[in-house]
Amino acid sequence: MKRYSVFAIAREALRYHQGWEKAWASPAPKSSYDVVIVGAGGHGLATAYYLGKNFGITNVAIIEKGWLGGGNTGRNTTIIRSNYLQDPSAAIYEKARSLYEDLSQDLNYNVMFSPRGLLMLAQTHHEVRGYLRTVHANNLQGVTTEWIGPEKVKELVPIMNIDGPRYPVLGALYQARGGTARHDAVAWGYARACSAMGMDIIQQCEVTGVRSANGVVTGVDTTKGYIGTKKLGIVVAGHSGQVADMAGFRLPVESLALQALVSEPIKPCMDVVVMANTVHGYMSQSDKGEMVIGGGTDGFNNFTQRGSFQHIEETLRALIETFPMISRLKMLRQWGGIVDMTGDRSPIISKTPLGNCFINCGWGTGGFKAIPGSGWAMAELVAKGEPGPLAEEFNMYRFREGRFIDESVAAGVAH
C-alpha cells in the first residue's frame, strides 16, 4: 500500500494523478477463509481490521451485498460521543472515541475526526438531574464530560436561543472531545487497511444461506457461490434478522426507519454538535457548511430506507425553536436508513446458538460513533470465541435474564 501524504499528492500532481493505485482490491472470493464477515459497513470492516491488527488473522473475507460503507455507515449524522450512563455503554463508546482520536494516523487515511465538542441540552429539571447523573457516572468511568450552565452554552453556540420561552436551556452535558468524523472515510479507510493486509472485500455479493454441521458453522452460500469458513461474523445492522434466520435463530431486534437531512451549505456558524432531546432534534455543521440534522425513528418495521415525513417536520420545528436563524435555510436532501433496535436499545455483540457464529447488531441510532470500539470488541470475540470485557455485557441472552443496558434512563434518550 502506498502511503498517503502531502508529498504523495505533490508527486502525483506532477503526473496528473495518473499513478494512484486502488484504495482496495476487488477480488473474486476464495473457496474458504478462516473468518468470513458478512457486511462491509463500518462495523464489519472494523471487525476485520482489528482481527488482523490485534490477532494476526488476515485470511478474512468481508462480504457485502451492495457497496462497502453503503448502509448506515454512509447515512448517519456522524456524531461521535461516549457520554453514556451505563458502564458497559460508556466502556465501548469511550473505547471507540479514543480509537477515533488516532484513527487517521492508524489507517493512514484522514477520517477527519473533529473533536469539536458535543452538547446535550437540558431543558427540563428532570433532564438536568439525568445529565448530572451521567457526569458523575462518566467521572468514575474515565469518560471526560462536564456539566455547564446556560451562559457557557450560549458562549459555545452563539446562534442558539437559550431563553425559551417554552424550553429555556438550563444547562448542558458537555463532552469537549466529542464531535464528528467523515462517515464515508471511516469505511474507506478501514477497507483500504484491510485490503492492504490481504483481506478480501467482496462487494455485490449477497449471502443467501448459512451452512453448518453438528451445530457449528461451515460456510455461507452467496450470489458468488459457496464460501467455506471456520468462523462467521454477522455484522449487517438492519438485515440481522434475515441473516440470523438463515443461521437458524431469532433476535430481539426490529428494523425501523431513521431519517436525517442536510441544509444547503452556509458559512461556518456552529462549531459544536448540539443535541436537544426534550424537543427531539440534533444538529451540527459539516465542514462543507451544511447543517446536518437528525430526526426521530418510526415506530414500525420498515426496510425501504424511507421514513415518515412527520419526523422531519417535528425535528425542524424543534430546531427552529432552538435556533431561530435557521428558519430561512433550506432542506437540501433528506434520507433514511434502516436501524436495528433491540429490546433495550443497546447493541448485541454475542455468541449465538450456532457454534463459531457471532453476531454484532442492534446499534440502533447510535452505531457510527461506536465503529472502532465495536470492531475491536467483535474481533476479540471472533478471534477468541469468547467475549472480552468490552463485549461481555452485550450478549444476546441478557433479555431473558432481565439484565438490561438501558440508556434511556438518563434523560438523553436519543443516540
Binding site: H239, G241, Q242, R250, L251, P252, V253, E254, S255, D298, G299, F300, N301, N302, F303, T304, S308, F309, Q310, G343, F399, R400
Partner: protein
C-alpha cells in the same frame, strides 16, 4: 406515510392519526412460564423483510387497536382487521398468497 383503513370506523387513516404497536398475534406468557417462552413473548421478533402482521391504534380517531398485514419491503397493505383475532383471517392470507406466491406463511 402510510394509509391504513381502520376496521372499526372505516376511516382511511393516515399514519399521523395512528400509533404503531409492534408485532401482532404474540402470545402472552405469565408467571411460571419457561424462560424461553417469556423471552419469545417479550423480545424475539420475526422482523421479516416482507409480509408482516402488526398492531396499530387509531389513536387520533376512534381509539381502537387493530391489526394490519403489510409488506415491510414495499409497504403494500394487504388488509386490516380487528385486534380480537388470534391469527390472520383467511381472506387476508389468501390475498397475500395470491400476491406473494413465495411467501412462507404466517407461522
Amino acid at each position: 406515510m402510510l394509509i391504513l383503513e381502520c376496521p372499526y370506523c372505516g376511516v382511511k387513516a393516515e399514519e399521523t392519526e395512528l400509533a404503531p404497536g409492534g408485532e401482532a398475534h404474540l402470545k402472552r406468557f405469565g408467571p411460571g412460564s419457561p424462560d424461553e417462552d417469556f423471552e419469545a413473548y417479550m423480545f424475539a421478533r420475526k422482523n421479516p423483510k416482507g409480509v408482516h402482521f402488526e398492531r396499530w391504534r387509531h389513536a387520533y380517531g376512534c381509539g381502537k387497536w387493530f391489526l394490519a398485514a403489510r409488506c415491510t419491503a414495499t409497504l403494500e397493505v394487504f388488509g386490516t382487521y380487528p385486534a380480537q383475532t388470534t391469527e390472520p383471517p383467511a381472506d387476508i392470507v389468501a390475498k397475500i398468497m395470491a400476491k406473494r406466491p413465495d411467501w412462507k406463511g404466517y407461522k
